[in-house]
Symmetry: C2
Subunit: 96 residues, 2 copies
Amino acid sequence: MSDQPLTEAEIELALSELPGWTHVGDKLEQTWTFDGHLRALAAASAVGFLNEQRNHHADLTINYNKLRVSTTTHSAGNKVSAKDTDLARAVSALLE
Amino acid sequence: MSDQPLTEAEIELALSELPGWTHVGDKLEQTWTFDGHLRALAAASAVGFLNEQRNHHADLTINYNKLRVSTTTHSAGNKVSAKDTDLARAVSALLE
């Protein structure tokens, strides 16, 4: 999968099919809320397996019952690439 | 355990027995580095059980093979209390 940064138009098009994801600071981000802390941790572990499968590691932040997933592509100059939109689709398919 | 904010002197004393922890922005923080992403996730889950035991939930941030643990006491006006130093001791005892 390409490490080329996507254009703003390409990102907008991808986001139109990724409900809940936002493009903030050259990252794609979404925050999920769960029924308690341990469920948020379990979700983080599940997303971690997607990260490992792709060798593309989104940052994961757990605040009590919330999990924020934030992905950017270091090899694309810390911009959003197809690796991020692909990961975002996989995370949404897993958690929703 | 008291929700009273600790004084700066009390925090300094506590940190003298908490190697690696720093007092930053009214939080106690430490970052650990593991052998890979899944080990960092496993460590986050383990710390999560300590959070649940104490009903005091440190923020957990996973960046590839790093886990940052950051704890403050909302009921102490988002300052460091004995709940944070107690949790920091427990996390260090678990991870080190």
